[in-house]
């Protein structure tokens, strides 16, 4: 690794950090500024901080409902994907069978699927099953992108574990299943956790399906609720920004805590050495 020399890279990195952080800073500051002052000449440093918008968000707008909806939908989708996807990924990473490569290629292809192309049949299907504006009516469509993503990430995690460990377990008398349960699964817990976090983030952020398959506030997820915020006379920027901060905080926290693992997971699936 080359040491940092000269001011060029420092400047680039410094600029980057400022450019990255500024919109967040600005949103947080503005969300704490009284509505009336928002439309005066903006100033970088707030003179007065109030929590009015946050109070209004939960008292008047029941913002906890979209949060609950998002948690239920993202949580269920992630749990199902990791459970079912880990078995699939293990087989694709480790077992020998025909069609392995085509299946892997197919799953990769599905991760690149344009969601908009299947909105129409999913809508008709969910309407037929009376699942529009329900939790299953969101979990099912979410599987279309979450399942291939989970499998793809986990395949690269499983491939990183040395094959000798299972071979040793089998020579020790464990069946494939037993070796998976006793050796592979405990060792891939970090990988499973990272995959779960990434899947959770993708589900939490999803917008198109949630917009298409919900009808009212009672089942809307966080992104849909924020995007559809309306004021009586003008755009309620204070509350929108407060909601944005609330929707972002948990994600930002997760990312900051697990950044190393997340970067590994993201890049291992995409670029190999």
């Amino acid at each position: 690794m080359r040491r940092l020399t000269g001011w060029g890279p420092v400047l680039v990195v410094g600029l980057l950090v400022v450019a990255t952080a500024f919109p967040f800073y600005w949103a947080i500051v503005s969300s704490l500024t009284p509505e009336a002052r928002l439309f005066e000449a903006p100033s970088l440093f707030p003179s007065q901080l109030v929590f009015d918008h946050y109070r209004a968000l939960f008292d008047q707008r029941d913002f906890w409902i979209p949060i609950r909806n998002s948690l239920i939908v993202a949580g269920n989708t992630t749990a199902f994907c990791v459970l079912v996807g880990s078995l699939c990924a293990y087989a694709l990473a480790r077992l020998q069978f025909r069609w392995k490569r085509p299946i892997l290629a197919f799953i990769l292809a599905v991760t690149m699927f344009p969601q908009i192309s299947i909105v129409s049949p999913l809508y008709l299907l969910l309407r037929e099953l009376r699942l529009i504006n329900t939790y299953p009516g969101l979990v099912l469509p979410y599987l279309t992108f979450a399942m291939p993503l989970t499998v793809w990430l986990l395949v690269s995690f499983f491939r990183q574990l040395p094959a000798e460990l299972e071979e040793a377990a089998m020579a020790d008398g464990a069946s494939r299943l037993r070796a998976f349960w006793e050796i592979i699964l405990p060792l891939s817990l970090p990988g499973l956790a990272t995959t779960a976090i990434l899947t959770l983030v993708y589900c939490w952020n999803e917008f198109l399906f949630a917009l298409s398959f919900t009808l009212g506030p009672e089942r809307q997820t966080v992104p849909v609720a924020i995007a559809l915020f309306r004021g009586q006379y003008q755009v309620p920027w204070g509350q929108i920004l407060a909601a944005a901060v609330v929707a972002t905080a948990p994600i930002a926290l997760l990312v900051l805590l697990f950044q190393r693992k997340i970067v590994q997971g993201l890049t291992a699936g995409a670029v190999k050495g």
Binding site: E167, A169, A171, D172, G173, S175, L187
Partner: protein, 361 residues
Amino acid sequence: MASIKLEDLEKTYPNGQVAVREINLSIADGEFVVLVGPSGCGKSTTLRIVAGLETPSRGRILLGDEDVTATPPQDRDIAMVFQTYALYPHKTVRDNLAFGLRMRGVARDEIDRRVEQAARTLGLQQLLDRKPLQLSGGQRQRVALGRAIVRDPKAFLLDEPLSNLDAKLRVQTRAELARIHKQLGATMLYVTHDQEEAMTLGDRVAVLDAGRLQQVAAPAEVYRRPTNLFVAGFIGSPTMNLFSGVRDATDATSRFVSPSCTVTGGAGEFPAGAGPTILGVRPPDIELCDPADADLAARVDVVELLGSAVLVHLRAAGTEDQVIRVVAPEDSRVREDETVGLRFNRGRLHFFDAGDGHRLD
């Protein structure tokens, strides 16, 4: 413990590459057989087939009297030591040792007893509650061995178990392996690319090249009577000197003539017949002598001190591109660039057919 028998074993990969073919090998109950060969010769594949980790394309594997060709590895009752040790990183040493017994449903107090016993055999008592990551390379290696010993399996399979150790530890562990083998009377099949390891450890050595068995015999036999050019060149260090030339014989003498040397012997001393031949002489079987009595004269290139002896590299006039290696007593007075005479030990000559490389007797 049980015998192992490989019959007509062959492995072809789906891409058409043949890993091993026509492997026939019997390992007696309690015998230590070493499979040795250069990398890619199929020795690891053979071991993995015996373990059940790979399926042969044809042939049979017998463990004792039982045909285990189609038996999955977990039902074969063999123990395997991997080159990378393959210790379960999330389990303590104790749990690593106990895992195989637990899988086979051994009672808990029996497991404890056997783990303690194996730990005592290998000096691991102090380490039982550590995780593999907290151990040194040598300690990990012993845990890997322990995991095999504790099971009391029908046979031990060892895949280059010493190759990740440093030179000193390797020699120590080699001796310890020999002791364990004697103590347990275990059937062992051991894979290595290191011919010295093969020679010191094995009751018998099986030399493998390009997927085929070249020679299976006791180490001394493989050294003294290599069955073909490959075995001759692979076994023994420093490597055997090879001279290509022509052999002929009259009623009174046998003779080998090459561009650099002419070697004569009494009638019938060399293999009968005439034709293109390769003569092999091991470096310790050549002595430095007065050029007048020599089989050939050569100029000294480099002298390396080995400790108890010197290794002399020489080049003979006419064949300058070929290096001749001679192991001479440590007190030999040879100087670089000096021309000396070399004499071959007549009882220790190896003749090979220049066409197919087979040994001529």
